[in-house]
Symmetry: D2
Subunit: 342 residues, 4 copies
């Protein structure tokens, strides 16, 4: 049995990554690819690396016959997404990759995104798409909200240790280094090769990064009390990868035990031996996330490090993993490729 | 039905790339991985990006029970390879990724590699592994010699136009830009990040690159007369990729027609529309090769451009493609992943 | 005695590079910096790496008091430049970095740039700014036209051997690899880090690159007959650098002798020993150009390789060198910094 | 008046960087360059980017006539340095770039470097070379110990705020991202381009980085009580640059005021407006250090960010700045070049 999917907003990096993954999926086929401003053009013109595939041309959303579509991936920009999804058939399964349905609280959404939500009913319905922690909800969901890529990486490092109660919740300092593809295919000066290669810098410093909304929501829910982490992202001259270094006050062995127990049966989450730390090199292009714990020289302190590929496990891979669950497919289907190294 | 393979010399880049590809192969399993100096260590320690796979530990070749192996990939250094292969069971199928069996003429071997061949009988037996042009021989071969990665890229650009007689054989100037992984995992100063990134330079200039031995052998055989190209490689600050720019005297449309006809049914060779040229960006991590032809402003001249990933189509992907043929598997099995972009 | 200069179009890379160079010039001071769209902003906001300098704010050209300016560098886009320069005081010395005054023949200009020249009188007056070959004319010039960066690199490799009559003028194949800063600070998709790093491709293939107009003009003038080279540029994932590989039919030693004789007394042009080839690594950030000659394995053929930094010797360094001559300063003033390596 | 210097260990990156800087110094000349294993070779062979300079050939230390040398830069490996310096003329001024004389306490040295110090008398004599904070001692010193590059970057961010008493000394978490040239010209697998580009990872995690010895020594001395920071370095795929993100508990404005006051008259230390953070892009190749402070969303917390070039301000630039002071030269001589961008 096979399923048919549409990718809305297929001209961006997450759209192209979905195509790359689905191209090797045994039972999912791509029925439609939309990209309003590039409608009518072949996908191979917009992404020549997909030239060898037999893909439908890019079209406008209105041209898609959704009666033949089992699930839609929505890889549109923030704000656009909520309007488009509200207009889709009410029974169509949807995996949204934007930020629009990540925050359950309308007030929190407005705080972080600067305007009221346009589809509050959908917001209530949406399931937060961090697969390993919302698996059962996702299986039964109609609308799943893909997480922020940084938010995913940070949660993989911290959720189990918060849940286990082994760290000081008021002293969590998260440093994150991120490759540039997370910024999308957007024409901004600081994303030019000449401006980015051979240098690096912080961004969204001081607690202004929107993924903090997700951290606040999720960590507070786990802890049953408000948790506010300190969060400092740095933009790195590399294309794919997120590396989280979460500095915590707590026992390293206890942290390691909590993570190991939580991820024991997970196909994509791998805890390294205590004292080892992961590298983004070793997850590039894959759906795997590596997590490590290193004790600090000062007793009672540790750093928890996680590494994933922002376009795969951080967005499109997660989206496909969720789609597999929603469609009753094997959860890992299309996601078993090894990382590309070197 | 499934086959079992051994990878000899698994601690280098081509060995790791073979593992990456075979990891998604439906019917081939890895029975043994050898690496003499790292014997006893788990593969995940040498290549942590393969951590998620269930692989045998690295061992010494002598430890391998070849009675349970259907085919051995030999990813050892040049010169070592011929000695190792000569000592393997005489009926074991072998795909060699070194330079040892590429040249059929013992004198040519000695000229380019500086010493007599140690296994001249095997040299006679070996089939040149450029799949698309030696497919039938490879299907029946016991020993297949993987081509040079540059040699593969250059031949994909030029073989059909030489065969078609549409270019001047005495005026072929090939410029080639190559990523650094082709130099292997070797500790050389000019391969350090600090020495290579942000700069580039020629190497093996003046017709001294060993892959010229292959070009001479193959192009002369096609033409039925000696053909000596001019060949200038440049080392680029990138990891994967070879881009060939072959300047020829001949009609661009005739060149394009010859290439299009030759590759019409090939699953991995793609000829772009006349006037378009490929990019290494669009083949990274895949087994595809893109070829394009652009007419020069001067009538009767053209540039033929080909792009492939040196570790995949240029070596390990080609090796698996050949192994598939030798084992009676589907030729494209394990090789259908899309390129990784960005 | 000191001179005062204005830089028109200071918000681009060549403008910033001029500031970097002039910052260490012993006798030249920056009197004004213009950038129409960014007028009113401090230079340190547009280029924070110049934060430590005491520079005038960006202004509109109209705001500059040219009576206090001895020379203007015009780093404006092509076509804009000719209009702006035509409106400057008629006795103001000008070094133009655009393409507007490089071609002496109005018809050639129209052919390569697609429209008639707006200031044909100035076009006649302009001196071609390849310092080492037009030094005397530049000393007495009012308006000097900076050369194309690729055109400079190619001419440094080929002018002396064409002049010496030691190569076949009908068989010159020039391959050029270029870093991305030559494309300027422009928001184009293929210049994004995510689209450029880790891959490379040809551009302006088939003899369509505008710098061919300069090659045609200059090489034909030297030879006293039409010379049309074949020219294939490749865009490299690096920021600074041009590497020319000129394939010629001629004796390598004769080529080397011609180059050595021509550059014997040049402070910035260095001919390597016969058989050695330069690297862009070794000229980065400097005004030096390295040139090498390697004999091909086939007698009577050679490759001439030149390397320079496109922003320095290829544009802003050349411009300052010319300005020094025009102002009666020491020719090398402000240009003696060593390359930055690694 | 001019001074003559020798550079011992001139075949590494810090040696080459010293040559680059001194090449434009108005009054210092290079009298000798040593490199034991490369003795007899011209410097231009080891570092072709210095080809245009008229430099002495590399020699053995024993061959140097120190009676004609005013000051020696010692850019030798750790442990070697102390032996070499102990054998130099007792009145020769020395700037050491190794780690050998950074720690005043012999026990601390043994803890961090794993063996007793071989020249404890010299260790007592040595002045810690963080110019801006030890200026007067350096002026009168015979032996100055260059700081660790990471140690310099971290201290520029933190010394003034520790001295001002405006942060909690028990809650300092320093994240540092560093380019690869800090690891030197050493043949290690993880420093290869193929292993480093496009990925990043932590190193020396858990408080094991040797520069912590310097932080402990200096911060404790300032505070008058033991201070132990948490320190997490990450290796970035870039060549030059260190970016420190120091997370502190304290008032951002008070931190900013302390830094601004401390660096008000410093030629190379620049404090950005409150709320802005620096980038390594903007200091590359220069002796400048940019420092910024950003308040966290949580009151009473802030991040202090500093950026410098590890080879310039972090080592060779600092060394020349100190040498200038020791020789009575202008402190900024040879150090006024602007950063290279892009």
């Amino acid at each position: 049995m096979s399923h048919h999917v549409a990718i809305l907003g297929a001209s961006g990096y997450t759209g192209a990554e979905l195509v790359r993954l689905i191209a090797t999926h045994p039972t999912i086929e791509i029925a439609a690819l939309s990209a309003d401003r590039k409608a009518g053009r072949p996908m191979s013109e917009v992404f020549p690396h997909l030239r060898h595939l037999d893909l439908p041309d890019l079209c406008r959303i209105e041209e898609i016959d959704f009666s033949r579509v089992d699930l839609a991936f929505c890889a549109l920009p923030h704000a656009t997404s909520q309007e488009v999804i509200a207009a889709l058939p009410a029974d169509l399964k949807v995996v949204d990759l934007s930020a629009d349905f990540r925050l359950r609280d309308p007030a929190a959404y407005e705080t972080w995104y600067g305007k009221p939500h346009a589809a509050p009913e959908l917001q209530k319905e949406a399931v937060y798409g961090l697969t390993e922690f919302y698996r059962e909800d996702i299986e039964g969901a109609r609308l799943v909200a893909g997480t922020g890529c940084n938010a995913a990486a940070g949660q993989f490092a911290l959720r189990p240790v918060i849940a286990a109660g082994v760290i000081d919740l008021d002293r969590i300092v998260v440093n994150l280094t991120a490759g540039v593809s997370g910024a999308g295919r957007s024409l901004k000066e600081h994303l030019l090769h000449a401006e980015l290669s051979e240098g690096w810098q912080g961004y969204a410093l001081g607690g202004t990064h929107r993924h903090l909304g997700e951290f606040d929501q999720e960590f507070s829910a786990i802890a049953g009390r408000p948790v506010r982490i300190e969060f400092t992202p740095t933009l790195i001259p590399g294309n794919r990868g997120i590396l989280v270094a979460a500095h915590v006050e707590g026992d390293a062995a206890a942290c390691h035990a909590a993570l190991s127990a939580a991820y024991e049966d997970e196909p994509f989450l791998h805890v390294l031996p205590l004292g080892e730390a992961p590298s983004t090199h070793h997850v590039r292009g894959s759906n795997h996330c590596h997590v490590g714990v290193v004790a600090d020289r000062q007793a009672g302190r540790a750093v928890i490090v996680s590494a994933l590929d922002n376009l795969t496990k951080g967005s499109s891979g997660q989206a496909l993993q969720n789609a597999n669950l929603m469609l009753g497919e094997e959860e890992t289907a299309g996601l078993c490729m090894a990382p590309l190294f070197p």
